[in-house]
Symmetry: C2
DNA sequence: GTTTGACAGTTCAAAAATAGAACTGTAAAC
DNA sequence: GTTTACAGTTCTATTTTTGAACTGTCAAAC
């Protein structure tokens, strides 16, 4: 999670990616849709390309111009987008209602995303989930003493 | 989405919330688990309480102490968390593997979150979704000319 | 009965990120 | 020859974030 947030966890990256999903591909398109500063936009696009989330594809020679296209890695962010949008639709809408509706082509209906268990197919609630350290676990999860018993407590406070 | 990102879209908020889901409740707990500066942590906790995502609950008098507990609004962020974790598990793991496994109590198995359509129950792919402006639509979505009828045929460059 | 430690912050200077605005460069259109 | 569209880059000013120390309360330890 920390690694993912290092990539998409800032004020603009997810909004840029939203535009990608809405078929924006070019610098000016992002800039005018979002009002992001050009400097930051250039910065973020570079980062997303470095991360393999966008691909920079030339669409004209002479003044070299490129489009930014979602890779598969980028497309895989879709559930994150939808989860965020859905939470916003549930908790952050004003009187006017949802800004955007999503229609599922396969069934033809406007839908909300539902998170289900890959194993049993049932919707998952936070309370129903138990976590276990996996093979790449990064921290012992409640470690206090690894060292010898309290050697030199350093002086806290100014009083000596 | 913009409104949601204004709340959870920064380098620390989602990590703080992850700790909440892992049952961390107290200031020192967050601080030592994340290594966030105390200043920012205090700042972020205040913001989350203001937003109604956490509730500040006293757990002792005398030196007044509080715990930070997820509200329902906060618990509803779970699908976002899981979507992020799953993307990280798919695209950002190192050789060691996943840091954390999630077990679904209802079926007993370790699972991945799957996003399905609320209407037909099938998994949803980005390509299968069509968007329409909703009642709260904020911008015309591809407006170029609101003024006089397209007087300028746009400059096209030589296709490459 | 003073000292230490746990806890939950606050304060302040320094460093980093972001905003705002103007500037660069290419090439076609007028 | 001037303007326009596009995709950036450069610069300064503001805002955020970091790092580190400081404040304050109370309980237990010495």
């Amino acid at each position: 999670m920390a690694r993912t947030i290092a990539v998409i966890g800032d004020r603009w990256t997810l909004l840029i990616l939203r535009e990608c999903f809405l078929r924006t591909r070019r610098f000016e398109g992002f800039q005018s849709a979002l009002g992001i500063t050009r400097h930051l936009l250039a910065e973020r696009l570079k980062k997303l390309v470095r991360q393999g989330i966008l691909r920079r594809v030339p669409y004209q020679e002479s003044p070299k111009r490129h489009e930014y296209i979602l890779t598969q890695k980028g497309l895989d962010l879709y559930p994150i987008m939808m989860a965020i949008v859905h939470w916003g639709d549930t908790h952050m809408v004003d009187e006017r209602g949802r800004p955007l509706l999503h229609q599922h082509r396969n069934c033809g209906k406007n839908f909300d995303p539902v998170m289900v268990c890959s194993e049993c197919g049932e919707p998952v609630l936070a309370k129903e989930v138990h976590t276990h350290p996996g093979p790449g676990a990064r921290r012992p999860l409640a470690q206090k003493e690894t060292e010898a018993p309290a050697p030199k407590p350093k002086a806290r406070r100014k009083a000596a």
